[in-house]
Symmetry: C2
Subunit: 305 residues, 2 copies
């Protein structure tokens, strides 16, 4: 929803991203104007229960105050979980004191660690890990990964062997089926191959850091900041940001499938050339624009393992 | 730049208005996304040295943090004057502590009073007055009025009588001219009628309050909030806001020339009917949309007084 860096432009809002996992919405960073973008793109606010804040720089959180206020005005009652640097507690306390006096819903801040990759959230569908980035403030990236689900049954196998409920539960977990006369029917005769587990990795803001390669582990989609062009690599280094080429190296070395570039410096009037720089190293590179949507389609594995 | 009330919509940003007086820019309220609108409408940030904040509610100031940060990133050195409730000092102190650590330009907060109409700013061209509004937090409206300038000379009079520099200075101030032989040439033979003094009044947020009538004193343009329709007058009363009809009454009774309505509740999908309600009382009523520009043309007075 926001693809600029610290200085927004007329077409690029500050950083904000929304991940939809089976209609659960995860907001990642919340730059100024995020609630306006949510309106524009017709996203239902109420579905957002989890917000991930990479670091406490204004361009990544100045949209939070307006969003919290709008939740209040819209009568929110659900808890709101925010995964962020611990300072956010004080910032929200200050906001509460001056601007709402009493929030009618709970805001639970889960402080991030910055030493290693760490599981910070889990539900029935996904796990979310934070991992350290290399920036001028304590900063984390986030890795969202689907959890292995039960296997789906094959209609023809079920119709033929008519397993009882207990056997069905075992089949879904990957066990083989035994008929009344003791014949073993291998699991893959009775079930579909599982869905491949999809993943999304988010890296903003950060200098080039090879430790990210392992953390983003073959992501289906890797979002990596590309604030600068290759020719401005020195400025990237000085400001703890990355070039498009560096982002491409992380994508390539991590075995990721698709690279999205964002967080562009406002010094570049157009940014397509940044994708060109990256594609020399990693062809599946795309420039993100505010409002772009990327899907990761579900695919069957080639086997049941 | 922002015509919504507390909940922005996809087309209306939160409150923010810009007044241009001879290319000096005065920002009035600063809702979330103001800097994005400034970019969109190609306004040069650096020209803004004075910001007027009506009250400390989030929808009127959440754009301030991003704007201050962008000033910093753009290398601002000029002092920034903010006319606002005194609390803003603490809020900016907090912002400074968490988000910039040290602003490279001075922010001077001028606390408003809430008892009576008061001169709060003056330069060579205009005076600005604050006056109390009636809202759920201490709130002021603002009245911008041009100052009487020196008279312009008439070429034919100057060519004919060739006054010396001292006499010219007196003519510009409205005095008559005396020739070497003591003949009195009336001032209006030597000078143009002065420009009429233009004015702009800003009233948001407020319940209907007849004391506003005197404060906005025959404004060329009166901006008055019209959060609600006549049929929602009870809600207006409960929330300390106005209806379009009430705004029209203030416009009519104050002898203002043009009424702009804004700060619309997001409950109305379209708001043209609010202008219709107001026009029954005050025909020169207009709905504002984000990006609209209204001009007050300069007119000559009919006499030199």
């Amino acid at each position: 929803m926001g693809s600029s860096s610290a200085l927004p432009t007329s077409k690029r809002f500050p950083p904000a991203h929304l991940l939809n996992v089976n209609e659960r919405l995860f907001l990642i960073d919340c730059g100024e104007g995020t609630q306006i973008q949510l309106r524009k793109f017709k996203i239902r606010f109420g579905k957002i229960n989890h917000i991930f804040i990479s670091h406490i720089h204004g361009d990544h959180i100045f949209g939070l105050f307006g969003l919290l206020s709008s939740f209040q005005l819209l009568g929110r009652e659900n808890d709101l979980h925010i995964y962020s640097p611990g300072e956010l507690r004080e910032i929200i306390g200050f906001y509460d004191k001056y601007f709402v006096h009493e929030l009618k819903y709970r805001v639970i801040v889960h402080p991030l660690g910055y030493k290693r990759k760490k599981l910070i959230y889990k539900d029935d569908w996904i796990e979310v890990f934070s991992f350290p980035l290399k920036h001028s403030a304590p900063t984390c990236g986030f890795f969202f990964k689907e959890i292995r689900q039960d296997l789906n049954l094959k209609k023809e196998g079920i119709d033929k062997y008519k397993p009882d409920l207990e056997s069905i539960a075992k089949l879904k977990k990957g066990e083989d089926f035994y008929t009344a006369d003791g014949q073993c029917i291998p699991n893959n005769k009775m079930t579909q191959p599982p869905w491949k587990l999809r993943s999304f990795a988010y890296c903003s803001d950060t200098a080039y850091d090879p430790s990210i390669i392992k953390a983003v582990d073959a992501a289906d989609i890797l979002f990596h900041e590309a604030t600068f062009s290759h020719q401005d690599e020195v400025i990237a280094l000085q400001t703890h940001h990355s070039t498009a080429v560096q982002a491409a190296m992380i994508a390539k070395l991590s075995g990721s499938r698709k690279l999205l570039l964002g967080h562009f410096s406002s010094r570049y009037k157009e940014v397509d050339f940044l994708a060109q720089e990256a594609r020399n190293i990693f062809p599946e590179t795309y420039i993100v624009n505010d409002g772009d949507i990327y899907y990761v389609e579900r695919e069957r594995s080639t086997d049941n393992s």
